[in-house]
């Protein structure tokens, strides 16, 4: 029964975003909450009915039919109410002919989801709220799952989502694709949100591995959605997908059964997902069209190198130059640290140590981990002191354990 439960949950999660997108597309984004309610009610009806009568032959079609009935019922009732209260003709009434056209056809679903993606990834909404909304509306995650992913609580997430939806209304954000000349700019924001969504999953502090993986898969799915439309299927879109494929390929190798992280060096590469690596290479090749070199291009190429376990001078030299370029577009402390690690691999310990000492990222435990590594063969005492500082600064138990193991092996 447990598996049946899990697959129902999966079905609901998948269908939630499709149905909410289609209903919101039909009646306007201002009704997004109504759409959510209708779909949730549909699931409730489904669970009750299916428990009693067993699973229908085509559960998805069943859901669409019931959701359609509920939607039409809701908006018809609303229309009567509005007509009684407001004698003048409302704009919504003009749409009445369309109302019966509500259909969950594959094309309708595809179009609506793409439009929803652009509506939610709107710079008018704070980026944290965009991620929350994306998780809820585009990926069908429950509030408690979102709270867990953000290491937050349900109230905070609910408030955040509420404010975001309010913003959708007050900013009068429409469910439509931006005009052609704006798509490229708006796409940057969409890609960024997908990237954050993926990172949220990949580096999430939650211990829930299934949830982490789910987040990554959903981000990948949203990216792939963009490739189905010419205007959004750009080289940088492909680069982002390649990047996600390469990272995701190591998912099973980086964690043991008892939830401890496995460092890259110690990973069993037979656990790397070859199919995902191949898919990544496919998209990396597509991303090479055109002149633009986005940060996704650079990161994808770095991630590709990490899918090749063997260390060669070319590998680290290329990684170093990619990081050098990446820093020029997109500085962040973690890129700076990774670059210094590549410098160590390419140019040696001494050169890297000089550069590392200049970074002065005093609150970053990865910084002291790196210093510990660089001092290892030069000054063991200093190395140990740095590892200790890393241990003190580490935020999660898993990280602390990892550092402790390094110290013991020292």
């Amino acid at each position: 029964m447990e598996t049946g439960h899990a697959s129902l949950k999966q079905l609901f999660q998948q269908e939630f975003s499709k149905m909410v997108a289609v209903i919101s597309h039909m009646y306007g984004l201002e009704h997004i909450e109504t759409a959510e309610d209708i779909v949730s009610e549909t699931f409730l009806t489904a669970t009750e009915s299916w428990n009693e009568k067993g699973l229908p032959a085509n559960p998805t079609a069943w859901l669409y039919m019931v959701a359609k009935q509920k939607t039409l019922y809701h908006f018809r009732r609303n229309k009567i109410y509005e007509q009684k209260v407001m004698p003048e003709l409302t704009a919504r009434e003009e749409k009445s002919a369309e109302m019966d056209d509500l259909s969950f056809s594959p094309q309708q679903i595809k179009d609506s989801q793409l439009q929803m993606l652009f509506a939610i990834c709107n710079p008018a909404i704070a980026s944290e709220a965009q991620i929350g909304l994306a998780l809820r509306i585009l990926c069908g995650f429950g509030i408690d799952e979102i709270a867990e992913a953000f290491l937050s609580n349900k109230e905070t997430i609910n408030k955040r989502l509420f404010r975001a939806k309010e913003k959708l209304r007050t900013e009068n954000i429409k469910m439509e694709l931006p005009p052609e000349h704006e798509i490229v700019n708006r796409l940057d924001n969409v890609l960024h949100i997908i990237y954050l969504l993926f990172s949220e999953g990949y580096y999430s502090q939650t211990q829930n591995q299934i949830l982490q993986k789910d987040l990554c898969i959903e981000a990948l799915r949203l990216g792939l959605m963009l490739t189905e439309y010419n205007k959004t299927n750009l080289p940088k879109t492909n680069a982002l997908i390649a990047l996600m494929c390469f990272h995701a390929s190591r998912f099973n190798a980086r964690q043991t059964n008892d939830d401890t992280m496995v460092l890259y060096e110690e990973q069993n590469e037979t656990l790397w997902d070859k199919a995902l690596i191949n898919q990544g290479q496919h998209f990396l090749a597509l991303s090479a069209a055109g002149d633009e070199v986005s940060s996704y291009h650079l990161e994808a190429r770095i991630a590709y190198w990490h899918c090749i376990k063997e260390d060669t001078p070319e590998k680290w030299e290329d990684i170093l130059q990619l990081y050098n370029e990446l820093l020029m577009i997109n500085y962040s402390p973690s890129v700076a640290l990774n670059r210094t690690f590549a410098l160590y691999k390419a140019n040696g310990q001494q050169a890297a140590l000089i550069e590392a000492e200049k970074l002065k990222l005093e609150n970053n435990h990865f910084y002291f981990l790196l210093l510990g590594e660089l001092y290892k063969n030069i000054d063991p005492k200093k190395a140990m002191a740095n590892l200790q500082r890393a241990y003190d600064l580490a935020k999660t138990q898993a990280e602390k354990q990892g550092i402790k193991r390094m110290m013991e092996r020292f």
Binding site: E317, Y323, N324, A336, R339, K360
Partner: protein, 111 residues
């Protein structure tokens, strides 16, 4: 933090006799050096490299093909960095590959 321009000059940019490997080494030196400043989060804007050819317009409408200024070094490119003081900006300039080519780095605050 203030902005400073690092201006690179070298006596020669003639690499016509350099082998591909030598060119690669020179490129790597520059990339690693700039990367080191970028890793400190101190690169503000990356100047484009300048072509070695150009024109100079002088008073009276005289146009020449250079040299651009009556000094022994030609302007190669520039980099805009962030630093607290002129001294700090000068520290960043250390290790610049232009110095290995007997060139110089001029450091000027951007007002």
């Amino acid at each position: 933090m203030k902005e400073f321009m690092l201006i690179f000059r070298q006596p020669s940019y003639d690499y016509s006799n350099a082998t591909p490997d030598e060119m690669k080494t020179i490129a790597k030196k520059w990339q690693d050096w700039v990367g080191g400043i970028a890793a400190q989060g101190k690169v503000s804007a990356h100047g484009r490299r300048l072509d070695t050819d150009g024109k100079v317009l002088k008073a009276g409408g005289v146009v020449t093909d250079g040299p651009f200024v009556e000094i022994r070094e030609r302007l190669g490119s520039f980099l805009i960095v962030k630093a607290d003081s002129l001294e700090d900006a000068t520290t960043l300039a250390h290790g610049c590959p232009a110095l290995d080519a007997n060139g110089s780095v001029e450091i000027r605050a951007i007002l």
